[in-house]
């Protein structure tokens, strides 16, 4: 399995070089146009500097920015023992060194994401809506997918590549807007008389680059992001040995029309499924970070085992596409572990019925008392008295 990460690393490196060249070219062209005396070097330097600063911020603070943007709350095992157990099961299956931190997001829409720069600094976050809707095996499928992102080092890579794309878009947008405002004229026109024609050519080059580079960098980024989603599905299934869990979870997720309030364009590639229904419609397009969810489900359901080869075969069958989703070394695997039986669903209809609100209340340190009359009393953490009366039957409960 380790070779897989190595292959990923090589591919990511290539992408970085390509996007980096685009970024430097763009910066150089823009600055050469604005200030020919600098020969474009200062612009290239500034472009790289912007990228480095943004990368450092997202590398060290990305996870916490993402978590606070989605108003996620860190939970302990008492709040949701089953979620903790499932994460630990997948930690054992993946052989990752430490347990990721677990967060719950107060949202009705079912979704989940992983974040963090390395397996030792990793975070898994799920929405309350997801916990309320999925049974044990489905939840395990989702967690396995997220742990696969951590295992494959996808998060760090997608964050840094995303930042690079962001830098490219930022620079070209500043330039294009500047052009619009100044009506095509350079702000710092050179005093050299013979530079008029050269200036025009440079301007056209800068204009073309600032339109094309973001598009190509974007296409590259999106296509890699989609590949990583397939790979995370395949790796997750290899951990859980149960494709149907993830398949039926994805089905439930795509079946809900609720949109996430706290997600936006920047954070959406992190989620297991696109958080907006608008995005879901355009999902087949080249400018989507996720493959169409129906396709993912169909691939998972046509697997004849849980190995990488089995996923690749199912993928090629469905897409009529022989290109490798799994890096070569993963395909040299000799064994194809079988699909396990469905685990007993202890969660029962009873606890699945616990709605999203209850889970969030537990995350916010509420206490629950089951009264003999059948009412479930929710005691807020601010409540300081020694006892509480049931609001329905009046029974006194001591706390």
């Amino acid at each position: 399995m380790w070779e897989l990460i190595q292959a990923n690393r090589r591919k990511s490196f290539l992408l970085f070089i390509l996007m980096g060249i685009g970024l430097i070219m763009l910066g150089a062209a823009v600055s050469y146009y604005l200030n020919p005396a600098g020969m474009g070097i200062d612009g290239a330097f500034i472009a790289v500097l912007i990228w480095i600063i943004m990368s450092l911020i997202s590398y060290y603070k990305g996870a916490s920015i993402l978590l606070s943007a989605s108003k996620a709350k860190k939970v302990t095992s008492e709040v949701h023992p089953q979620l903790f157990n499932i994460v630990e099961e997948m930690k054992i299956a993946s052989g990752l060194p430490v347990m990721p931190e677990i967060y719950i997001i107060n949202e009705e829409a079912p979704n989940a994401f992983a974040a963090g720069r390395s397996p030792k600094h990793a975070v898994v976050a799920v929405t309350a809506g997801l916990l309320a809707r999925l049974n044990r095996d489905e939840l395990q499928g989702v967690i396995a997918h997220e742990m696969a992102h951590i295992y494959n080092r996808d998060i760090r890579f997608m964050t840094l590549a995303g930042v690079m794309l962001g830098s490219i878009v930022l620079i070209s947008e500043i330039f294009l807007r500047g052009m619009l405002i100044s009506g095509g004229g350079a702000r710092y026109r050179s005093s050299n008389s013979n530079s008029g024609q050269g200036q025009a050519i440079i301007m056209i080059i800068a204009l073309v680059l600032s339109i094309l580079v973001p598009i190509f960098a974007g296409l590259l980024y999106y296509s890699i992001s989609r590949k990583r989603e397939y790979l995370a599905d395949a790796t997750g299934v290899r951990f859980s040995r149960y494709p149907e869990g993830l398949a039926s979870a994805l089905e439930k997720i795509s079946g809900t029309k609720i949109e996430m309030k706290t997600a936006n364009k920047v954070t959406s590639p992190m989620y297991i499924a696109l958080p907006f229904s608008k995005g879901k419609k355009a999902a087949a397009g080249l400018r989507s970070t996720h493959p169409p969810i129906e396709e993912r489900i169909r691939i998972l359901r046509s697997m004849d085992g849980t190995g990488f080869l089995s996923y690749q075969a199912a993928y090629s069958d469905l897409k009529g596409d022989k290109s490798n989703i799994i890096p070569g070394s993963g395909l040299q695997e000799s064994e194809n572990p079988g699909i396990r039986k469905a685990f007993d669903d202890v969660s029962d209809k009873r606890s699945v019925k616990r709605n999203a609100g209850d889970i969030m209340m537990a995350a916010n340190n509420y206490h629950f008392i089951e009264c003999s009359c059948g009412l479930r009393i929710k005691v807020p953490p601010e409540y300081k008295k020694k006892s509480i009366n049931c609001t329905k039957c009046g029974t006194v409960h001591t706390l």
Binding site: N85, E89, M90, I92, G95, F343, V346, D348, R350, E370
Partner: protein
Amino acid sequence: MVPLIVILAIVVVLIIWFVVIYNSLIKLRNQVKNGWSQIDVQLKRRHDLIPNLIETVKGYMKHERETLENITTYRSQAMNASGVGEKAQAEGLLGGALGALKIAVEAYPDLKANQNFLSLQEELTSTENKISFARQSYNDQVLFYNNKIQMFPSNIVAGMFTFKEEEFFELEDPAEKAVPKVEF
């Protein structure tokens, strides 16, 4: 002079090669050990859960004394077992006995509604999942390690330092082996 340097170079390369293989064997053996301790932790956890479970269900399940006694017996057998093979057999029997309990529980709706029992059951299920996931990765590692010991050229180094093949951990579930009885 030249032949001497050539011979020296070959010796140095051989020594380096030897050290690299030896170290990789040690690393693999440690991984297998670590994999085994992962299983062991979960097996112990299951043993620890059982007294609590029996205490909880005892009051409800008046007619299942035999099932409960089976679990207690197999638990103490499993706790006394040593070695991978012996443990696998004892734990397989314990797993079968617990499976029988799970089926028996279906007849007691009161018990299934008990909050304490539900959380115990989640713990037990999760522990069993953890055992099976730890078993997967342990067996993967054992396979890798055993292959390395058998294959040339690492088998030479393995033979010199008596690296022994490790045993797979295969849980036998008696319930799975039994021929299902079909009744009409």
